[in-house]
């Protein structure tokens, strides 16, 4: 059985013209790239578009990847830039955290719930929902740190800021996430009563 190829080996094969190798790279990283894009776009369709654009951009620029960092860090930098550009284009950057529509959505969703279903929902479901409601930068820091396994230095590289800035952002993002989670859970409890 063929052993799993590393990112670097797949990149070298891609540069020699093997497109199947790049397809494997896409498969390896698509979940994290998509999740990261979703932190900005807040919907699946736009996130897929951003993620696709990012992979195509990465393919075009693959020969310029110097292997000074992890491939994933380099890729997330492209995703971050692409998502920021897309966000500016769509002019949705002004969506406020306390946007009433966000809460209307939650209320509509819960109103159709059965109590048993609600009880069955895990805390991780509410956490995911709370992350979706955070500003893009907060959600990005959390996603990169907890799910994409990036160090503070690597996150700094992706976001183009200082490492200390990432530390502060991460601290604030966790705080906001906790507040948002408690707020949402309180809201759910009221709905169920």
């Amino acid at each position: 059985m063929q052993s799993k190829l590393t990112d670097i080996e797949l990149i070298q094969r891609t540069l020699k013209g093997d497109q199947q190798a790049y397809a494997l790279l896409v498969k390896t990283h698509q979940r994290y790239v998509f999740t990261l894009a979703q932190r900005f776009t807040k919907n699946r369709e736009d996130a897929e578009e951003v993620a696709q654009d990012s992979f195509i951009k990465a393919y075009k620029a693959l020969s310029s990847f110097k292997q000074e960092s992890k491939f994933s860090t380099w890729l997330y930098t492209i995703v971050y830039t692409t998502a920021m550009t897309s966000l500016r284009k769509r002019n949705t950057a002004s969506i406020a955290l306390d946007d009433e529509n966000n809460f209307t959505q939650i209320a509509n969703a819960t109103s159709t719930w059965d109590v048993n279903i609600a009880e069955g929902r895990s805390r991780s479901f509410y956490l995911s929902r709370a992350i979706e409601q955070l500003p893009p930068d907060d959600a990005t820091v959390l996603t990169l740190f907890y799910h994409a396994e990036q160090s503070l230095e690597e996150i700094a590289q992706v976001m183009g800021i200082e490492t200390n800035g990432v530390k502060v952002k991460l601290f604030r993002a966790r705080k906001r996430l906790k507040e948002k989670l408690e707020e949402n859970l309180k809201h759910e409890a009221k709905e169920l009563i």
Binding site: Q19, Y22, A23, V26, K27, Q30, R31, Y32, F34, T35, Q38, R44, A47, E48, A51, Q52, F55, I56, Y59, K60, R123, S124, L127, S128, I131, L142, T143, Y146, H147, L152, K167, V168, L170, F171, R174, K175, L177, K178
Partner: protein, 168 residues
């Protein structure tokens, strides 16, 4: 930032130095407020870690590869031409010109008349290459080459159409 929270997060993330780590560990062991906060934050940390990232649609990687294939297809001609071929042609012409110039100068003779130096360059006699037989052979070879490459090009086009129709 809250000092205790900040220190505890640094402790959980492993971003503090050995001295700070030992001091925080001692506080957690001895102080109940610190211990409770630490437990609460650790649980929260584990909960965030446990969230699974979303999956894109099933056709996602196919769409990406389609996008790449489309990009490859519209690649400008200049990027598909092998630059070595262009360099080779340039080198051929430069060497030919240099060769002719050198040949001309090596066969050159100098005469002095009335105090002035006159250089006579004797170029090779090319009339042998421009008689009617040589020209006819040259044109014949050209026409044959043209027909050969036209045939190759037409066959290639027909084969591509067949492959596409089979794939569809």
């Amino acid at each position: 930032m809250n000092n205790m929270e900040e220190k505890l997060w640094n402790y959980i993330d492993g971003t503090c130095n050995a001295e700070e780590r030992d001091a925080i560990a001692l506080l957690i062991a001895q102080d109940e407020i610190w211990r409770n906060s630490y437990q609460e934050m650790l649980t929260f940390n584990n909960e965030i870690t446990a969230i699974t990232p979303d999956e894109p649609s099933m056709a996602f990687s196919y769409k990406v590869m389609e996008g790449i294939r489309a990009h490859e297809a519209i690649k400008p001609l200049k990027t598909t031409i092998n630059t070595y071929i262009i360099s080779g042609i340039a080198v051929f012409f430069v060497l030919s010109i240099l060769g002719i110039v050198l040949f001309g100068f090596t066969g050159a003779t100098q005469t002095i008349s009335n105090g002035n130096t006159v250089t006579n360059i004797h170029l090779p006699d090319l009339s042998v290459f421009t008689n009617s037989t040589v020209m006819n052979v040259f044109l014949y070879v050209d026409v044959m080459l043209l027909l050969f490459f036209a045939d190759v090009w037409l066959r290639k086009g027909r084969n591509n159409t067949k492959i596409k129709s089979v794939q569809n």
